[in-house]
């Protein structure tokens, strides 16, 4: 149970709402602290102190969209800006919950845990954000950024000291919310669900910073349509728990929200050029880790040390940022291994692999099989197969869940009639959402040069006949 220390309960804040504020391109002025709201002051005070730790400041040096600026030069925004935006958005969602729930039902301590989890949810991201995680996986790493976040919260860090000062159990409670794969209550849904502060921030931020004109989100209307009701979870032992849902007037904007995410996935996150760079970095690090684990070069750069170390420490992880990737690429561009040197040089100079888009077609049986046959044929018939990189990933509008109904809190819930007992899954209310189920699948082949793309295109055409 959270119990604020005496200093906090006396209201001796380190925060000053006239100086503790951040100008944000998405949300405008984000102010920490409010003289008229003690509860908000308490949490904002902790948040402001956390912002100023070395672990959190590291997020300034990590781009939110990894390699996306290779395509959208404006997309150089940081994880730091995103994390602050998520905190701000979480405050708005928590305020909806506070206003809609009767005071005795509102759990102030859980709300604080959720707000701080929203702020810290990405603190464990590696360089270039998700790019690092994919590269790490390609080299056999099993830790996810959520695991690193929990280590930062519970390890020997300034973040941990600040949280412990407030309450000894706070680091663990926040870690639990960050690691939860299924939100266990309404407060956790603010941090992680299909309608959470994270998505509400990044959809707006990534749209703004990339400069794309689609994927607009009417956030004010969305928030105005938010209500608090209850929903049944866990079929084995059913229990009704509070949840956020949208009233009927919010259905259209909820569809827009899902469509925005779908469009951004297709045009930004899964852009063929960005994915080429990601695949190239993964291939380069995999080759390096397999073939040069014991080399002197592996000890030269923090990034390489991290990848060859079977059990990297938190300290070595926190040394990493985007700059460490670019410095390593400069070093590896001079490597004696031609494959590694070639990939490093190409990434530095944006001479990326060429793409054959086999099709963002419907994910039907025949097309899926065609890509598999194509890949198999290439392996047997194409001499340069080892130099090819493949990308095969679904683009989905909405995640359906399989676990009985424990995942109800993870869904986007809509109540179409006031007399309905419980809100329903948007997939059962909207006509658009089911229509776009499993709508598209990215299936691509990357090759070092256009001549190879032409050769493999010919093989593809033969298979198609």
């Amino acid at each position: 149970m959270l119990s604020f220390t005496e200093e906090h309960s006396r209201g001796e804040w380190t925060i000053d709402s006239e100086t503790s504020r951040i100008r944000d391109p998405v949300h405008g002025l984000i102010v920490f602290g409010d003289r008229n709201d003690k509860a908000r002051n308490e949490t904002d005070d902790i948040a402001w102190r956390l912002l100023n730790t070395p672990e959190f400041q590291r997020l300034r040096r990590i781009r939110h969209l990894g390699f996306s600026d290779l395509v959208y030069p404006g997309a150089t925004h940081s994880r730091f800006a995103h994390a602050v935006g998520v905190y701000h958005t979480a405050r708005l969602l928590i305020e909806v919950i506070r206003r809609r729930l009767k005071n005795r039902e509102f759990d102030k301590e859980r709300a604080t845990v959720a707000l701080l989890a929203a702020l810290l949810h990405d603190i464990g991201h590696g360089p270039l954000s998700h790019v690092f995680e994919q590269a790490s996986q390609a080299t056999g790493g099993t830790k996810r950024h959520e695991d690193w976040s929990a280590e930062i919260l519970q390890g020997d860090t300034e973040v941990n000291s600040i949280l412990q000062e407030v309450d000894k159990g706070l680091p663990r409670e926040i870690s639990a919310v960050i690691k939860e794969e299924e939100p266990k209550d309404i407060y956790a849904t603010v941090v992680s669900s299909q309608f959470d502060a994270d998505r509400l921030d990044y959809l707006q931020r990534d749209r703004l910073m990339t400069g794309v004109e689609f994927a607009h989100l009417d956030r004010d209307w969305l928030f105005d349509c938010l209500e608090v009701g209850s929903v049944t979870i866990d079929e084995d032992a059913p229990v009704r728990v509070p949840c956020l849902y949208l009233n009927l007037k919010g259905l259209q904007v909820a569809e827009e929200y899902l469509e925005a995410r779908f469009r951004l996935y297709k045009a930004v996150y899964m852009h063929k050029t960005t994915r080429a760079a990601e695949k190239m970095l993964g291939s380069m690090l995999k080759t390096f880790t397999l073939d040069y684990r014991d080399s002197q070069l592996a000890q030269q750069e923090p990034l390489l040390r991290y990848f060859v170390d079977e059990s990297p420490s938190l300290g070595s992880y926190l040394e990493l940022d985007d700059a460490s990737v670019w410095t390593t690429l400069a070093t590896l561009a001079a490597s004696s291994d031609t494959h590694v040197a070639e990939l490093a040089s190409r990434l530095r100079e944006r001479r990326l692999y060429k793409c054959l888009d086999v099709g963002m077609q419907a994910q039907d049986e025949a097309q899926g099989n065609l890509f598999l046959r194509f890949r198999r044929e290439l392996r047997y018939r194409y001499l340069g197969f080892d130099s090819l990189l493949f990308d095969d990933a679904p683009v989905t509008l909405y995640d359906w869940y399989s676990f009985e109904d424990s995942s109800a809190l993870n869904k986007i819930l809509v109540k179409t009639r006031a007399e309905d007992h419980e809100p329903k899954d948007i997939a059962n209310v909207s006509s658009i959402v089911p229509a776009l189920r499993d709508a598209e699948r990215i299936q691509r082949v990357y090759a070092p040069c256009q001549r190879q793309i032409e050769e493999i295109t010919r093989i593809m055409e033969e298979i198609n006949k």
Partner: protein, 177 residues
């Protein structure tokens, strides 16, 4: 053993049909840990141990027409893959380093539990072997607060015991936490 053969043989030993790609992943992982030793890598993905090699394996097996894979809709309109054996293939004598009879018996035991219980069992073993050797159950409950409740963790531990993974099954709550 290559991932393609692992998929084909598991489908055959499961009675020629197996429903759910994550079920196939969890079963392969647990068989691996029961001694099959497939030599393929598993990561934590889709809420439990998952092998990208295995996913490529079923793609290859399908491309070679050794199994049939169909996408179906289940409860709550959740889509899943259904794997079916092709008639011509002979039965395997072994599955990795397990005899076919051993593997079949374990697959039958796993077929009797729900997807959630199977996920919990596989996750306990994965966590124990990947960074949470002292407290896999505590970590499991942290990651899956709802799934791990309602007696399902106990069912998962019972399954591990049935499979012969006794050290995982008998982790005491106090030692685990």
């Amino acid at each position: 053993m290559n991932a393609k053969d692992v998929v084909v043989d598991i489908v055959k030993l499961s009675g020629h049909e197996l429903n759910g790609q994550t079920r196939l992943q969890r079963e392969a992982y647990l068989l691996d840990r029961c001694g099959a030793k497939f030599g393929i890598s598993f990561f934590y993905y889709h809420h439990g141990p998952y092998s990208f090699e295995l996913a490529d394996g079923w793609a290859d097996a399908k491309a070679e027409d050794r199994i049939e894979i169909k996408q179906k809709l289940g409860r709550y309109d959740v889509s899943y893959l259904s794997f079916k054996k092709k008639a011509a293939d002979a039965h395997p004598e072994n599955l990795g380093e397990l005899s076919a009879a051993d593997a079949r018996e374990r697959l039958q035991k796993m077929a009797q539990v729900s997807d959630v219980v199977l996920e919990l069992a596989a996750t306990i073993v994965f966590l124990k072997e990947n960074g949470y050797s002292e407290r896999p159950i505590e970590e499991l409950k942290m990651r899956k607060p709802i799934k791990a409740a309602g007696g399902r963790t106990e069912k998962a531990r019972a399954l591990l015991c049935d499979l012969g993974l006794k050290s995982e099954a008998t982790l005491s709550e106090s030692a685990a936490i």
